[in-house]
Subunit: 230 residues, 2 copies
């Protein structure tokens, strides 16, 4: 914070600081291919500390972080991925899309030096969590905000993160012995990547393009295009 | 990225860059009190651009951003907040907590120069969104990742963001004329703040403490404490 606290712009970060923040947001990627190099504990600690500083509804901090290194556990998760992924591939009707899908690397469960399960515990502070009752999923949403902090903090350390959603959630929750009520929000592969691609992989391989932001911004009501990007 | 691409640590950001990223994560706050100063369009554009760079399941980019400046619309949202908030206060059994609750400022709907509704459109790319079917809420989760990008990018501009969850969601969705299926994820107040507190407001007023991170980190299974923070 600058010295002149009466000027709202004085709260701004310096130009190089802002550039670093934009750089980390721009260069963050969903990483699926990892080097075997281990991650130093202090790096993992810094990343988790940044996750823990996320906002949460009623300051409930509903998250837990399960660091998974056990090889047998990961083999079981990987086997589940294979099953669910085969089912997913079979759902694609267009043969060219299906063929493309089967060629994609969608996880690094065994290759990454560690996996990280991030959970949401809705029982925390119950029954009264400030602000949650009117929008009950805000505990899950808070957990996601922590995940994005973690993802960016990891990128700043040169560490890649890949979110594996192609899983059997109840089976994974049993494997991790989550208590009833606690749910898995994200299963992440974490480690030093082979590379940070310059564009998202699904964009690079022609699966899907980035949408023009101007099409997604409305003014006051759905469907009324904002003049911001014209 | 540094020149030596074979060294995983070469992907790291510089020390000052990493410090800037930690600083923005540490100093981000849920802001409820705003100055009347308007926000330049280019600042809002930069913030939305950073939100749009968030990861999303199957690269679906399910988010839309509704910039709300209309005074009448905001009065209606504020009236809804008052109703729901009174109901929430009445739910608190402990008289001292209830009294504390009623003294808290929980929104800046009318004071902030603008409000921002962030929605999730699950119809986008349907029926096959890569990776969504096994965990259907990942479209909502993706939207939350964009919100955290936005929140951090705003902080880097000296702009405060406050998430109002104390709302009647279906009524707000009708007010914003969201099509069937599209849902409101976050209703934000956005603008230059009176201040960025050094700690979260709920911590400062004694509503709730920050939890020790070590208590929240497990190894391989729920309940097995990790040695990382011992």
């Amino acid at each position: 914070m600058n010295s002149n606290d009466t000027d709202p712009l004085a709260f701004s970060f310096s130009e190089p600081e802002r550039a670093a923040i934009h750089k980390v947001i721009r260069s963050r990627r969903d990483v699926r291919r990892f080097l075997p190099n281990p991650m130093p504990d202090e790096v993992l600690r810094r990343i988790l500390e940044m996750a823990h500083l996320a906002p949460s509804v009623g300051f409930m901090q509903p998250w837990n972080f399960i660091v998974i290194t056990d090889a047998e556990l990961r083999r079981q998760v990987k086997a589940m991925f294979e099953q669910v992924n085969a089912r997913e591939a079979a759902r694609i009707e267009d043969p060219a899309r299906q063929e493309l899908y089967t060629r994609l690397t969608l996880e690094g469960i065994l290759e990454a030096p560690l996996n990280l399960a991030i959970t949401c515990d809705p029982r925390r502070d119950a029954p009264f969590v400030l602000g949650r009752a009117p929008m009950p999923e805000t505990d899950l949403f808070s957990t996601c905000l922590a995940i994005q902090n973690l993802w960016l903090a990891a990128r700043a350390e040169g560490v890649g993160v890949g979110w594996v959603s192609i899983l059997d959630r109840p089976a994974t929750e049993r494997l991790l012995q989550l208590p009833p009520g606690v749910r898995l929000v994200a299963y992440l592969c974490v480690g030093y990547p082979i590379e940070f691609r310059s564009r998202p992989m699904l964009e690079e391989v022609g699966w899907k393009d980035r949408q023009p932001l101007g099409d997604l911004v409305f003014q006051d009501r759905w469907g009324v295009r904002s003049g911001l990007f014209s």
